[in-house]
Homo-oligomer: 723 residues x 2
């Protein structure tokens, strides 16, 4: 029995840890003031679920909510769903091999994973009615009381997962495959990326450490190594990504778009290829909205750039110029300003970005997501790198142009304190160490804070909420539960309170980290060492976050890291430019303690050289990697070949076998005929009206022997000089 469960994507029976075979929990809110409405909608909900073939069971939730448990009524139904989904994949070219023509066989050939089962059930619940689903969309319209639809954590797997990873130094493919089977390719791709990124970081960590020991900041050697490394990593990952998507059978899955429910279309048309109706929104209208991205980007630059410039110059004034009273306390002022204003501004800009993306009215989830990620990236780019850019390109090389700013702060301070005597100030001198300090802050302090806020804080918050709820509901709900279910229901109620896992946030963190490494690590070569350490923990803390801090995510599929790949490529390229410029500007400044001569030509030349080194390296790496066939691509080629071969044998096999027995006309004629008689014959035939000129031409020599005979005669004639 248990092996049969395995075929249909159900875990083993896990006793008290198990989920009673529940596929999805629907957290249904009953607002006391809308009891009747909620009740009516609840009945509709159960009916809708039952109609598509789900079994339902209802239990008490927390205060004012119900928990609706659902599972697929039968394995047969699942089998059909799986089969039709796989066929669709094959039709769309995602799979190369068609599934076996028999459903049971197809499932036996490739058992259903938990992720596949859960994905299909989720689609069944949420897809619109004319697509065969129940059309239940969380929190919308008729279903506004549906708080959440989520699968339950597989506790046995989670425990095993955390246990295994806490004891392992290096992850391998099977670890990723496990994640894929339970959480889907979307999450698995994140871990695959993080794993490879971690492995690759060993190189810049080692080089960085050596350079820091031997050459200090701003070393050209480190800049070149870092630039080459980022090229290799980016190209490697592009291939690896394609390879993984083939291994997991999801290549091209991003082309199968999920329509966006909020999309508003102008009119319907017919797809020229499939003949299916498609909804059209005039691209020119979208483009008009998209043009608003330009003022948005300008706003980001002005607001966040201005903030950074202001706060940084203030900080420089206080720390490096100001020598008056209260310096110890004033030193905190810039940090406080930054810590309060940056999130405020980003939140405002982020909500503007969301509104803008909504207005752009994309037809698919992916397009919408990509557009949002793009804007997020611009925002994050500003908040993350502005301060460092300021230090690297203004403060260190051209410190003197900060003087007006510093004077302004000096005057302001004088006005504020209303003192008559000039403030005690020191002569300002730019200090290249500043950027290293900033990098230290970003790589070490910020990452520690980040890990804490990402894992520890939500966990504590959640625990506190649970405790509070338990106290407020006074243990009353619990007493109604059946004893054998009590433990399970408690777990489920816990999970309803958890956050939704958002893989985008995790990607963003890593891509931004890659940016620090690529853009600025030349100013503090130890960066990669700390990132390496951080990412070793990150891999595990992200796992922990999913397991204890979040609801189990819907196991969506993916065939790449999506829009982040573009961001990665952009940062990698930009890194070649900034590294070169930093090396030139900052190391020129440092020489012998005096400001040496910086020319525009020098900056441009170093940028030009670095960029062309980057492009040349990119071409070389692509060329070399293109020579090697990755295992995934090889597997794909093999599958394609075998599929075609099989089809060939099935449908047209008789022809191939026929080919061997070609009859050869012309060989059999062996009678001796002289050229004259033959040509005579031809002439006669022509006189009697037989045969076209073409036939005559070929009839002059009938068969091989004739040709040889005539040929020999001609040879003889030619060499004897008769011809």
């Amino acid at each position: 029995m248990s092996s049969l469960r395995g075929l249909y994507g159900k875990g083993e029976d896990q006793g008290i840890e198990g989920n009673f075979g529940v596929d999805y929990v629907i957290h249904y809110r009953i607002p006391p003031k809308e009891k009747e409405k909620a009740e009516a909608a609840f009945v509709q909900l159960i009916e809708a679920l039952t109609n598509i073939g789900l079994t339902t069971a209802v239990r008490c939730g927390d205060k004012d909510s119900l928990l609706v448990f659902t599972r697929l009524a039968s394995n047969d139904l699942l089998a059909r769903q799986v089969y039709s989904s796989r066929l669709q994949d094959w039709l769309q070219g995602v799979r190369i091999k068609a599934p076996a023509s028999d459903v049971t066989q197809a499932i036996k050939d490739e058992p259903v994973t938990e992720a596949e089962r859960l994905r299909l059930v989720y689609l069944l619940i949420t897809e619109s009615r004319n697509e065969g689903g129940a059309g239940i969309t969380q929190g919308q319209g008729q279903w506004k009381y549906v708080e959440a639809i989520f699968p339950l954590h597989n506790n046995a797997f989670n425990k095993e997962w955390l246990h295994k990873w806490s004891k392992k130094y290096i992850l391998d493919q099977s670890d990723l495959d496990d994640i894929r089977d339970k959480f889907g390719e979307g999450v698995a791709f994140y871990f695959a990326f993080l794993k490879d990124y971690f492995r690759f970081q060993i190189f810049p960590a080692v080089v960085g450490f050596s350079c820091w020991m031997l050459m200090g900041q701003f070393s050209t050697f480190y800049a070149i190594c870092s630039c080459l490394w980022s090229v290799v990593f980016f190209e490697y990952w592009k291939r690896k990504e394609a390879d993984l998507s083939i291994t997991w059978g999801v290549r091209g899955v991003s082309k199968i778009q999920h329509p966006r429910a909020e999309f508003q279309w102008d009119f319907e048309a017919e797809d020229a290829v499939t003949g299916e109706p498609i909804k059209i929104y005039a691209p020119i209208k979208r483009l008009q909205t998209q043009l608003l991205q330009i003022p948005f980007a300008v706003a980001c630059i002005v607001v966040l750039g201005g903030l950074v410039a202001t706060v940084n110059s203030l900080e420089i004034f206080i720390n490096e110029v100001y020598a008056g009273p209260g310096k110890a306390y004033l030193g905190f002022l810039p940090s406080i300003l930054l810590a309060t204003l940056t999130p405020t501004f980003s939140t405002i800009l982020m909500s503007a970005a969301k509104k803008l993306t909504d207005k752009e009215n994309y037809d698919t989830m992916d397009a919408h997501h990509a557009a949002l990620v793009q804007k997020q990236f611009v925002l994050n780019f500003m908040t993350s790198y502005m301060a460092l850019t300021f230090t690297a390109f203004v403060y260190i090389p051209f410190g003197s142009i900060l003087q007006p700013f510093l004077n302004f702060w000096g005057k302001t301070a004088q006005t504020l304190t209303m003192s008559e005597v000039p403030l005690t100030t020191r002569q300002f001198e730019s200090n290249p160490q500043r950027i290293a300090n900033q990098m230290y802050y970003t790589t070490v302090t910020a990452q520690i804070i980040n890990t804490l806020t990402e894992v520890v804080v939500p966990y504590i918050k959640h625990k506190a909420t649970v405790k509070a709820k338990e106290l407020s509901s006074n243990g009353a709900v619990k007493s109604n539960d059946q004893p054998e279910e009590a433990e399970f229901l408690k777990r489920v109620r816990n999970q309803t309170g958890l956050e939704v896992y958002d893989v985008t946030a995790d990607y963003r963190e890593m891509v931004m980290q890659f940016g620090y490494l690529s853009l600025f690590s030349v100013s503090w070569p130890l960066t990669a060492c700390f990132f390496l350490l951080n990412n070793w923990i990150e891999l595990r803390s992200d796992a922990l976050k999913i397991v204890i801090g979040c609801r189990r995510p819907i196991p969506w599929r993916a065939d790449s890291i999506g829009p982040w790949l573009t961001a990665l490529g952009f940062l990698s390229w930009l890194g070649s430019v900034t590294s070169a410029a930093i090396v030139y500007l900052c190391s020129a400044d440092k020489q012998d303690g005096t400001v040496s001569y910086i020319t525009a030509g020098g900056v441009l030349l170093s940028i030009l050289l670095a960029e062309h080194l980057y492009f040349a390296a990119q071409l070389t790496v692509r060329f070399v990697m293109g020579k090697v066939e990755s295992p995934g691509l090889q597997r794909e080629r093999k599958e394609r070949f075998q599929m075609r071969k099989k089809l060939l044998e099935e449908t047209v096999g008789h022809v191939a076998s026929e080919k061997a027995t070609v009859e050869v006309p012309g060989v059999e004629k062996t009678e001796q005929i002289t050229r004259q008689t033959l040509e005579e014959e031809a002439r006669l035939a022509s006189i009697h009206g037989h045969g076209s000129p073409e036939e005559l031409f070929w009839q002059r020599q009938r068969g091989m022997q004739d040709t040889i005979l005539v040929g020999r005669k001609l040879i003889a004639e030619q060499s004897s000089g008769k011809a």
Copy 2:
């Protein structure tokens, strides 16, 4: 009958103009001294041809040669060859639709073109015996007396072709399709490229003419337009190429590699995918040979660059400095030097390139060809652009550094003339007009000369040879011919004397022309006007060259313009750099007649800006073009979809129809059961050992109605505050 002929790739019966159904002519040489050997080999030849199913006929050739005519013995044999080739294509993924399972039907669905027929017959003749061919390789080993194997020109088509094109201003797709059907995709791609290139040139011609009228040389506006144009054209062509290859059903055909007969392998291994044996040559050994390309490139630069620098400075000396006697005659000296030395050096270097490529020992014809083209490109690059580079980057901006050269020539001249008095010289002053003159020479004079040498000279030469042969053989051969064949045999004998058509040379000419336009046209904006005119003629003169100047080429397939695409991309990119540099360097020089200040920073900045404009334009154009689905790609998507749909219906149709009738368990239970009784039941079942905890969980509410009932009760309890 004639329609049946059409199905099998035979033209209509053309009377006196026809080829008597001959597929290939083998020109067989009989050296008087090796008569016996040649005769024995001739017998083997005829036997080999007959064995693979070809009918043969032999006639007299020119002096000391035979003409062996062959054609496929039967349409049946052809049908099988065509079918098996199409199946192979489909297996390799070149075709999306599998051919119909019945041979006759497949041929009816898609009649055989002349090109397909000729290609298959050629493969039959030349492929090795274990691949089912006759293994006849022109001029090698056993077949060393085989001078040539070539198909005969289709005179009716050729006449029609020339007639049509001489009357048409603009070519359309059907013209290309005709070429493809007769000469194969390899030749058709060249004409397709030329046609589109010609169309696109209208833009730079118009802009260039306007700029020349309004702004003169070195205009930034023209440079930007030219750079953007080259981006658009390059991206357009890449897409168009893919599109054409789909339309012609040859997409991916370049992956089907023809093994190179000369390839020498180290050992044999098994292909991991197809299981077929593959021959391996250690890549490291090849890499070692390939490294010799570096000294080769250096040699090209030194030899040809040195020649250009020497001759140009000499020319400048004579024309612009020297004012002594014999100036009128001496003026020709540099041109004579260049005209004699350049071909000499290139011939030597070219033969070195050929030897190097042979040593690189490629396993496929394509790889060999690409490697050769690469080296040719380096050579051509040097010979074509060196003089202009010298003028643009040395003579105009930094004329003064030529002084030592000029002094050297002055001294040399003095030594040569052994005169005691210093030579009469003028003060040297660089003249920006020089580059325009050079460009004029390249675009107008050189192109006219080129057209003459390409078409007229070979034609005259050939006519003369024919005449000479006729005179020498004294009309003796002709008298032996049958009167009804005499005209035909005369034509065939003429064709044996023609050159082999080499599409690579034509590509090279066009790519080099594109280079002039992209790299230097900013110095003489009229360039494109003259190229436009030239290319209108070129399209027709190339057609004329194939028809009257060359043997009919073997109709090879191709899915792109091959290695020239890379060259095109390289020139387009380099153009952005050189144009910017020329504009900065040369226009700075020109201002007010005095040498204004040129800074390294300025050059670098203009290059940096131009290059980034180029890359930004490239990304934009790619993005925009990516949004539009080309007709070819759409067709491919459609075919893929239909093929899969058909297969789906055939093999697994029953499942899809089943899907509609999902039975829904749980709906039927309508009896009224209270929660208590149910839970009681469950408890009882558990006591009696029935059911796992999971079953118990779900049995508490049996069916939809129970769930609704229990849910309502829970809602009531919750809101009444009981829970």
